[in-house]
């Protein structure tokens, strides 16, 4: 693992080079079935007159999220001049339009429906974009600020918490709230915790925190209501780096446990 870590910068560049481009095309039959299922449950609602929200459900479903990531990528790849942002979220996709664009179709709701339906045709090839982000995490008590509460709530030992978390197959369900802030799903169900009753006023940048079956890696020092189980030495968001955001929606994520020494060595100067 040491080598992996040493080669981190170049590997990260390689891994994160593409955003919305296809590395491996593997349209699994199962995935197509999910996409078809999605199309049937498609509900479009205006978010005011400058955005449309396509909702596919109201409860978190990892498989559904995986498919809607592919759909969002397919719609974004059209690069329509009046479409400003295609934002995949936990259970739906928001389409933000330029409300003053001269080529804006009318009615825009119908155009968005057509766009999504066409997106389904193309989405198959965007399944499994092939990106894998490896995130070194120091799970030592020095960084696991809420370890006692997590131990009490899960009845797991600190070692097992780290092992279960790092061993889970994670993926980025949504990036939002702050620039580059990922909502990562896929944690072992034994790690399910509610949000903290009292949010922390200062969540350190790089804090790895869990709640409601998800993991967040905080890009900035902000308030936050999730339980901190570790910290990454990586810079999650840097507007002057290319790419600025370590995580993009749809990325697969592997958390790799590192020691305090590793952390010290890897943290930005």
């Amino acid at each position: 693992m040491r080598n992996v870590v040493d080669d981190q910068a170049s590997r990260r560049r390689k891994l994160l080079r593409c955003d919305g481009h296809v590395a491996n095309i593997s349209p699994a039959a199962a995935a197509e079935t999910t996409l078809k299922k999605l199309l049937k449950t498609l509900q479009l609602a205006p978010l005011g007159d400058a955005a449309v929200y396509a909702e596919f459900g109201t409860t978190l479903d990892l498989e559904l999220n995986r498919s809607l990531q592919a759909l969002a990528t397919a719609v974004r790849a059209r690069e329509l001049p009046w479409m400003r942002d295609v934002v995949p979220a936990l259970c739906g996709i928001a389409l933000h339009i330029d409300p003053f664009h001269p080529e804006l179709p009318d009615p825009v709701l119908d155009a968005c429906r057509t766009l999504l339906e066409e997106g389904f045709q193309a989405a198959g090839k965007y399944e499994d974009s092939g990106r894998m982000v490896e995130v070194p995490v120091c799970y030592e008590p020095a960084f696991a600020l809420d370890l006692d509460e997590v131990v009490a709530a899960t009845k797991l030992s600190p070692q097992n918490i780290a092992k279960l978390h790092a061993g889970s197959k994670h993926s980025v369900l949504m990036v939002g709230f702050s620039p580059g802030q990922p909502y990562i799903g896929g944690s072992d169900p034994k790690l399910f915790l509610p949000r903290r009753a009292t949010p922390r006023t200062r969540m350190p940048a790089g804090a790895v925190a869990i709640a409601v079956g998800q993991t967040c890696v905080y890009p900035f020092e902000t308030p936050g209501g999730w339980s901190v189980i570790g910290r990454t030495p990586l810079t999650v968001f840097d507007a002057k780096r290319d790419p600025a955001s370590l995580f993009a929606p749809g990325d697969r994520v592997r958390f790799e446990p590192i020691s305090l020494d590793d952390y010290e060595r890897m943290k930005p100067a």
């Binding site: 978010l47 400058a50 295609v86 934002v87 939002g176 702050s178 002057k240």
Partner: protein
């Protein structure tokens, strides 16, 4: 270069915004009143993407180290150039070494100062807009401070001379080289409470009947702890029928969300891209710039509208913006 003697209350570099990156949590940001920004830029012959200064309530004191063609649009401000009153909504020349002092707003809350050639800070992620919450864009990701130097286009002085000569009805007024015409302000607040159109939000039905009515009946005040991220609206406390948790989902410019304390927040230019608070309303896109011109303490009423009415409001505004910019573009031959 522009040298900053005093920064004013909150002066930031803003352009038309940073679009296409909301899926990475990067909000468009940009001018709170993009209509006034476009007009200010148009007045000096810039395109809509040029960087301007967004001036909030109390303006800065600036020294121009080269001659420049500038214009103010948006909030009406008391502005002195070399100690003489400067015009609003008209291009004028600031002489080399002259001091430009924007004092306080007389009407509205945000004025845009455009300079021919633009405020030439480097683009970050495709825009010169300052995003204060994550400290990037604009001038080092922050508001102006005393002692700052703002870069202008290299040929700003030459541009000023060339563009000024293209203007019709040039005249000197109180010793300031300007023109004998002006363009209208399109977003200044009329008599308060101003009326802002809004559609029912996705979660409107989650609120109890009294709260549903109260949102459209009440007169709301913009509370003092409002900022570029959102306007907190003080008025009746809005309550939900049941406090079920909502999964975090995308939000928009103009979304009105209601946190657990029942005080609605209208999301403005620097809003977060996603949120888990219920959305009681969505403000019509055409009316967001007018809301942005309210000062803290200003009052607003929401008029219920349909998607179709919102579209009509947009068409009317777009037509007025086009008519204004077309005349300016013709003047400058751009």
């Amino acid at each position: 270069m522009i040298r900053v003697l005093r920064p004013g209350l909150l002066t930031t570099v803003q352009d038309i915004g940073r679009h296409g990156m909301q899926h990475l949590g990067i909000v468009p940001c940009g001018a709170m009143d993009p209509v006034a920004l476009q007009i200010a830029n148009g007045l000096v012959g810039n395109n809509a993407h040029a960087g301007t200064l967004e001036i909030t309530v109390l303006g800065p004191e600036l020294v121009f180290e080269a001659e420049a063609l500038v214009a103010f649009s948006g909030a009406e401000m008391e502005v002195l150039v070399g100690g003489r009153p400067a015009p609003q909504n008209r291009p004028f020349i600031v002489e080399k070494g002259a001091k430009l002092h924007a004092r306080r707003v007389l009407m509205g809350s945000r004025a845009y100062l455009a300079v021919a050639g633009g405020i030439a800070v480097p683009e970050v992620l495709g825009s010169r807009s300052t995003y204060l919450p994550a400290k990037f864009g604009g001038l080092e990701g922050r508001a102006l401070r005393a002692g700052d130097l703002l870069p202008l286009a290299e040929d700003a002085a030459a541009l000023a001379a060339r563009r000024y000569l293209k203007l019709s009805r040039r005249e000197e007024k109180h010793g300031v080289r300007t023109v004998g015409w002006s363009v209208p302000s399109l977003t200044l607040p009329e008599r308060e409470p101003i009326v802002i159109h809004a559609m029912e939000g996705r979660h409107h039905a989650m609120f109890d009947a009294a709260s549903q009515r109260a949102f459209f009946d009440a007169t709301w005040k913009v509370s003092p702890d409002s900022n570029r991220m959102g306007f907190r609206l003080s008025g009746p406390v809005l309550a939900r029928v049941e406090a079920a948790e909502i999964l975090s989902e995308p939000t928009c410019l103009g979304t009105v969300q209601v946190p657990a304390n029942g005080t609605p927040i209208a999301l403005m230019a620097d809003h977060q891209t996603t949120g888990g608070y219920p959305k009681i309303a969505e403000i019509a896109a055409a009316d967001v710039p007018r809301l942005a011109q309210l000062t803290p303490g200003g009052s607003v009423q929401f008029a219920r509208c349909t998607l179709e009415q919102a579209r009509e409001l947009r068409a009317v505004l777009a037509q007025r913006i086009r008519a204004t910019l077309r005349g300016l573009a013709w003047t400058y031959g751009t």
